[in-house]
């Protein structure tokens, strides 16, 4: 019983998070400006971390936790670096 409930919830959560990643990817492709793309990339990172945690619950293994932590770390560093880069204005807008 509980396995069925949890299985359905995990499946629904995975579908929703995949759709969320799709939306973020859409914004990443559309832009229109560089800051929109960086924001979309940041959202993509967060959604990926959430998806990994759901994978962890599905497989019953805590190893996915480390992966989620690393994705969150990388997402922060990448976004901060890209934002800094935008601020200095060395990216020429097309």
């Amino acid at each position: 019983m509980s396995a069925a409930i949890l299985g359905a919830a995990v499946f629904a959560a995975q579908v929703m998070l995949a759709a969320a990643m799709g939306c973020a990817a859409l914004r990443l492709a559309w832009g229109p400006r560089a800051q929109d793309r960086v924001l979309a990339l940041d959202t993509l990172y967060v959604n990926a971390a959430m998806l990994l945690l759901v994978f962890g619950i599905r497989s019953g293994s805590t190893h996915y936790f480390e992966a989620a932590l690393i994705i969150a770390l990388l997402g922060f560093v990448a976004t901060a670096a890209l934002a800094k880069f935008l601020m200095r204005g060395e990216v020429i807008e097309q």
């Binding site: 949890l6 914004r27 800051q35 959604n47 945690l53 805590t62 936790f65 770390l73 934002a83």
Partner: protein, 119 residues
């Protein structure tokens, strides 16, 4: 679904509810990223995912593994603390970068730099 059979129903229900709520908030945030009109509005959208969205999923994960392993599994708190501290920083830096760029390009709809006047 390894291990899920061992999860009692009283734990499975809140875990399922938290998972769905968290994923739904993540999805709504990303929909906002697509739907809202300009960059400064879109900056608000991912905060849904990075506050309650990931918070609910981390709570679900903590509850799930704590009940399964019958000991408190709290390392998810690390991700919580990390996300809570870093998200405002990235969004602030990004908003400031966008503002700087818009000012440099003479965008009319952004406020000018502070006047530096004393009150």
């Amino acid at each position: 679904m390894s291990g899920a059979e061992d999860l009692p129903l009283w734990a499975a229900l809140p875990v399922a509810a938290l998972l769905i709520a968290g994923a739904a908030l993540g999805l709504i945030g990303s929909i906002g990223l697509v739907r809202l009109r300009d960059f400064y509005e879109r900056v608000h959208a991912p905060t849904l995912a990075t506050t309650l969205g990931i918070g609910f999923i981390l709570l679900a994960s903590m509850l799930h593994f704590s009940v399964l392993q019958s000991r408190p599994v709290l390392h998810e708190l690390l991700i919580t603390a990390f996300v809570v501290i870093t998200t405002p920083v990235t969004l602030m830096v990004l908003a400031r970068a966008a503002l700087t760029r818009d000012r440099r390009e003479g965008e009319p709809n952004v406020p000018p730099a502070g006047t530096g006047r004393q009150p």
